[in-house]
Symmetry: C3
Subunit: 337 residues, 3 copies
């Protein structure tokens, strides 16, 4: 039985099949792949697009989504084995996974890291434990990666650029008042490299390197495709001649849990907002960002409101790629049952 936890577990051609099907669904194809099936949507963190697009997509496939808000509506969960549960957690993921598996046909989970201990959190323990104990497919709605966003991003890039192989993709760190999850940044380089793009990462300082797991995976993909992978700190050089810009802010991993010390490094990126001057250095690049997005902090209004901005299209694509992915999981379940 197959989960959708990270695109690392899926081959490029499998992901391309999902993208092709998503384009057909966007063009109006209908499907009843989830008829009579239900999907639990478990949120440990807030959501606008994810909740709406999953709920509606599932209904459009003939299924029923059940939203579970694990912050307000339920209780904290334990995910380590053998623990004496005399703390906050009232329930172990083992039981939650087993019981939900009796009620629903798939379980989708959003659970961000707590920004406390990256050495633990880099193992994505909650969703991994769910996947180990559930008897139905688990779908990642954003943890330390965001594979649904990756699919939506790549679909928008392909819609705009056609074949993306050998085009150049720039992931640029952008300012934000708070240190954010690295999930979308990890995902952006995983996906761009997997689909044969030259990948550049622009950061204010090398402390903003992503976890080696993702750096190495992206480099390996680039090597396999014969493309380049570069970590850069020079803004002009990084933007120069690129075809696609992707903006994202994140916290520097060495300061995980001690964010005050990160401030001087963050300050080095104070001019990293995407603006017209930077975009003028590109090869008439497209620009995107997952939403939500702080205007005039991460990207200037003039860029967001220009035709180069793919963010709305990418957000719409979430609906279509998720439907295509759920279809693929449902087909896989039927094959194995």
């Amino acid at each position: 039985m197959r989960h959708f936890l990270t695109t690392e577990d899926w081959e490029q051609d499998e992901l391309q099949s999902i993208l092709d099907r998503a384009k057909a669904l966007k063009a109006g194809a209908s499907s009843s792949a989830l008829a009579g099936k239900s999907v639990a949507l478990v949120f440990f963190n807030p959501s606008l697009r994810t909740r709406t697009s999953f709920d509606i997509g599932i209904a459009q496939l003939g299924g029923q989504g059940v939203v579970l808000d694990a912050r307000a509506g339920t209780w904290p969960m334990e995910f380590e084995d053998g623990v004496v549960m005399n703390g906050d957690a009232e329930e172990h993921v083992v039981e939650a996974a087993r019981v939900l598996s009796r009620y629903v046909d798939m379980i989708a989970i959003r659970c961000f890291p707590k920004f406390e201990n990256w050495q633990t959190e880099r193992e994505d323990p909650l969703i991994s434990t769910f996947a180990r104990h559930a008897s139905v497919p688990i779908v990642n709605m954003e943890t330390i990666v965001h594979p649904c966003q990756e699919l939506a991003m790549m679909m928008a890039l392909q819609e705009q650029h056609g074949r993306v192989e050998n085009k150049t993709f720039l992931l640029t760190w952008v300012p934000h008042p708070k240190p954010l999850n690295t999930a979308v940044a990890n995902s952006a380089i995983l996906m761009a490299s997997k689909f044969g793009m030259n990948v550049r990462m622009l950061v204010p300082d090398e402390v903003y390197r992503l976890d080696e797991r993702y750096m190495a995976a992206a480099q390996a993909s680039c090597q396999a495709h014969g493309t380049s992978f570069d970590l850069m700190t020079d803004v002009e050089a990084a933007y120069s001649g690129v075809d696609a810009v992707y903006a994202k802010s994140w916290g520097a991993l060495p300061f995980y849990g001690q964010w005050a010390d990160e401030a001087p490094y963050r300050a080095k990126g104070r001019d990293f907002m995407v603006d017209d001057a930077k975009m003028a250095l590109t090869n008439a690049a497209t620009i995107s960002h997952c939403l939500p997005m702080r205007r005039n902090v991460k990207i200037a209004d003039s860029v967001v409101d220009s035709p180069a901005f793919l963010g709305i299209e990418e957000a719409e694509n979430r609906l279509h790629v998720q439907k295509a992915m759920l279809e693929a999981l449902a087909r896989d379940m039927d094959t194995h049952s």
Copy 2:
């Protein structure tokens, strides 16, 4: 494309058509006006009746409602143009409106004023911004007016009184421990005046005048119908001979954001609760109140539990008028697509 933001944008005969259709739906007519369509229900404030009646009404029309709790489930939103978004708001309404428009066929919004700055809030900025940037109809589930409640109120009045033209409608301020939103009060005078009723407003002091925008609109409607409009502070005179009483509490606009100073004026209305003695002054009037309603603070038990009380019928009518209104919006969309 038509929104349902305020009854000020709709003619009396258009609203009457909605009421007539609502009566047919209440009598058992069925409809699949929203088959295959979805509606986002975005709540920035809590709700019992609105959430339930919209969700069920949409399902009864064959559609799918998606509830988005913008307090707990999502994040604060910016609605001003050109802002550098380095405060609390993670997302601009522009993006939220555009993206939701890609996912759903209509967007219904509840967003009360924050009671901080009436000069800003009287422009109803959040829902107005949504309406400007969405490409689907926007429905008001209560902001600084409550047009769905207006329809439900008028339907209950017509059910009980038949034609309401030239009957006398009294909106009475009633006590409440806290200063409340003026939305339902604004709506009550807009609707009663639009449908040809004589309108009286009873307040403890002239500081409880509603915003001039609504006072003037109601006076203009009365003038057009040849009916009277009176702001009164004398309880006996106000109740005398009226056909319909509507009770509501609200905060005095001059003290917006500085409520401590309102206390002495509020105290002048300490005896304004609707009770049997006051009702005895009327022309065997009906009495109603939107819900929730504090018993024995706003209206005495003996009045609430009498046959004159239309509050439960009015609450039920929410379901029917909303279905009829959503049908009208869906029909309008089909005409224009």
Copy 3:
């Protein structure tokens, strides 16, 4: 019109019919008993299994569930008659019950006691007031009893033991950091006694007696069946030779609202966790617990992960028994309309 407030209102053979139907549903029988009907699911307390199993079960019966979160999504409610509502409560249950009855076909409610005043709370005032004023069936999703859990527990026992008459059922108090609701404990002895089992209760001290209402009801059932009912404090004697163990923690009623004074009595039960040594004293007993359940505090991992543990099966059964119970209520409504 029939409610499902407590199994005390239902005869054993009526409950057995629900269990038999639940087994048929579990085996794959389909039903459209709620086609075109809607059910409000009102939660004053958090939930994972209850919310999911009701929502999915209702959809599987062709109906629509509407979840109302009365903590976050709505407001506190008053349930006493004649109160001057100038406190926190914005709405009286009378209005909520009447209005919801206009919108939906059934109302299911979860409302735990507040652990403040057992003399008031033992009357289960909120759900009782709802039942008195609603014109549709009310379903108990856990208040001071948990009848849906009772059905699921008995179904799991029957699946495992066949006929349970004259088998011996042990309800054992187990440790927990906090004093918990007595609902499931009350329910366990009500149901086991009603179905003809010998019932033992093992507690650290007699202060953990349950409310006399439930003690007396269980004793009366045992007397009618010719079975035994024993309150015990000796662990070895209590476990000796039993066929089914049910673990639950609860707060001692004499210390209701003054929990600090309960601590020394709670300490007497520090070794009451269910473990292999205790299970070895039984007649190869099954062991169960409603979920959530703190591992290694209430029950040792080795017991939870053994074949004797019925907790997951019992949790799955919630779905089936609730569907069968809702079917029975819908059939009863049709008979009387």
